[in-house]
């Protein structure tokens, strides 16, 4: 099951500048593993060693926050990776 994934600009160095990629997964964890295979190093920028979403990252499935990495993905779900920005 392929999903559209929106990449925040601070992580686009991993996707050759692409703002959007697609990745497969039945759960958020599966999808992040697929992203890691396609874009090595990217998962660690989002998920720490304790398998927690890093505090400067939020992951939304469609318009609602994904509670855990076990969150299930339904066909057509879009995954949005959001990174805190500091510029003013």
């Amino acid at each position: 099951m392929k999903h559209r994934v929106r990449i925040p600009s601070p992580l686009r160095s991993y996707t050759a500048g692409a703002a959007q990629v697609s990745a497969e997964g039945e759960t958020l964890d599966d999808l992040l593993a697929a992203l890691e295979r396609a874009h090595p190093g990217m998962r660690f920028r989002m998920i720490d060693e304790q398998q927690r979403i890093r505090p400067h990252m939020r992951i939304f499935i469609n318009t609602h926050e994904a509670g855990t990495l076990a969150s299930a993905l339904a066909p057509g779900d879009e995954v949005h990776l959001i990174c805190a920005l500091s510029g003013g």
Partner: protein, 380 residues
């Protein structure tokens, strides 16, 4: 009561049935503090002044620089070097002499935030540092003030609004963020119009909250992608474990985070000892924020020995080749003894880069402390 001059000035507001004289009176009696007279604070300040916010405050301790003028539309070319807050005050009063504007030309800190915010009803955060964002958020939560917060990066913008009892706060969205992992505009660049869009949006949100109209961005993160020209909205809720607004909040008084001590207006070049640099590289393997090592020695010196991850950009070429240095992570300049690396760091700082360090004592110190077998080439 609105005067005849005010009725004429705000005529287009008064024509709006949802807003009318009652809405305008609310704006007139409102006191709004803008944190940061920068890319976001400029349009926010101009629109809030034009809209007739009775009392506006601007806090910014910086001076106008040439590189600000690409986006900070409060300022003019002949104001380079002038204090931002005072200059902005004159500009806003010229736009609307009916209002009061206060210039606060100092740095917002835990020690002065509560006293300053007590004089205002709502805060617009347009600061450019995460440490300030957290301080402003915490102050608003603890003092019960509504907050309109926005941030920008390259071609992307984000905005949320907070109000006590009505919305989750910034920490509910991003509990704690290290300055090192989030690049700012000075490091990563920003399209000049982008803060114009997001700062105007902040003014609009502030007016809506003060006038009591519409649906503010409470519990909603609004994102803007300028390249795709698309807006998206995400819902987030209060975290039970939020350190400042959660049920068992640990933040009861304001505090400066470590990053708040770094002052953009004076030199923030860090001098790293060899062991500090080594520790930072080891830590980078864990948190992913590897510093970029730039060795500014001549190619023949670099060829004999260098640190494994370092790239070679000789000092005479540095200014021309600055764009080659990735901006997302801290940069550490390295040379033989520490003199050229400091010059390189100053050059990079002058060019507007942030998070700059150099290896004190250079490769000679590194070899002496950590790699006795390493041979270091003489400069000539």
């Amino acid at each position: 009561m609105l005067s005849a001059a005010e009725r004429a000035r705000y005529d287009r507001h008064l024509l709006l049935p949802e807003f009318g004289a009652a809405g305008q009176e609310r704006l007139k009696s409102a006191r709004v503090l803008i944190v940061g007279a920068g890319g976001l604070g400029s349009p926010a300040g101009l629109y809030l002044a034009a809209a007739g916010i009775g009392t506006l405050g601007l806090i910014d301790h910086d001076r106008v620089e040439l590189s600000n003028l690409q986006r900070q539309v409060l300022f003019a070319s002949d104001e380079i070097g002038a204090p931002k807050a005072g200059t902005a005050r004159r500009r806003l009063l010229a736009l609307n002499p009916e209002i009061s504007v206060h210039a606060h030309e100092f740095k917002l800190r835990a020690a002065n935030a509560a006293e300053l915010l007590a004089n205002y009803d709502l805060v617009v955060d347009g600061s450019d540092r995460l440490a300030t964002r957290y301080l402003v958020n915490d102050a608003c939560v603890l003092l019960g003030k509504p907050l309109v917060s926005a941030a920008i990066h390259r071609f992307e913008g984000q905005a949320i609004s907070y109000a006590p009892e009505r919305a989750p706060c910034y920490r509910c969205l991003f509990p704690e963020v290290s300055e090192q992992v989030v690049p700012n505009c000075a490091e990563a660049g920003v399209l000049g119009v982008l803060p114009g869009v997001m700062g105007s949006l902040q003014a609009l949100e502030a007016i809506k909250i003060l006038a009591g109209i519409g649906t503010p961005l409470f519990g909603r993160l609004l994102t803007f992608d300028a390249l795709a020209m698309s807006w998206q909205e995400f819902h987030f809720t209060r975290r039970e474990d939020c350190a400042v607004c959660g049920a068992h909040a640990s933040i009861r008084t304001l505090r400066d985070s470590a990053g708040a001590e770094l002052d953009n207006s004076s030199s923030a070049i860090e001098a790293l000892q060899p062991r500090e640099l080594q520790a930072r590289q080891q830590r980078a393997a864990i948190d992913g924020a590897a510093p970029t090592l730039v060795d500014v020695r001549q190619p023949h010196e670099f060829a004999l020995s260098h640190l494994p991850a370092a790239r070679n950009i000789p000092l005479p070429d540095l200014e021309r080749r600055l764009p080659e240095i990735p901006l997302h992570f801290p940069v550490v300049f390295i040379c033989r003894s520490g003199a050229r690396s400091l010059a390189a760091a100053k050059l990079a700082e002058h060019a507007g880069m942030g998070a700059i360090a150099h290896l004190e004592g250079g490769m000679l110190a590194w070899a002496a402390e950590l790699a006795p077998a390493m041979r270091i080439a003489p400069p000539d």
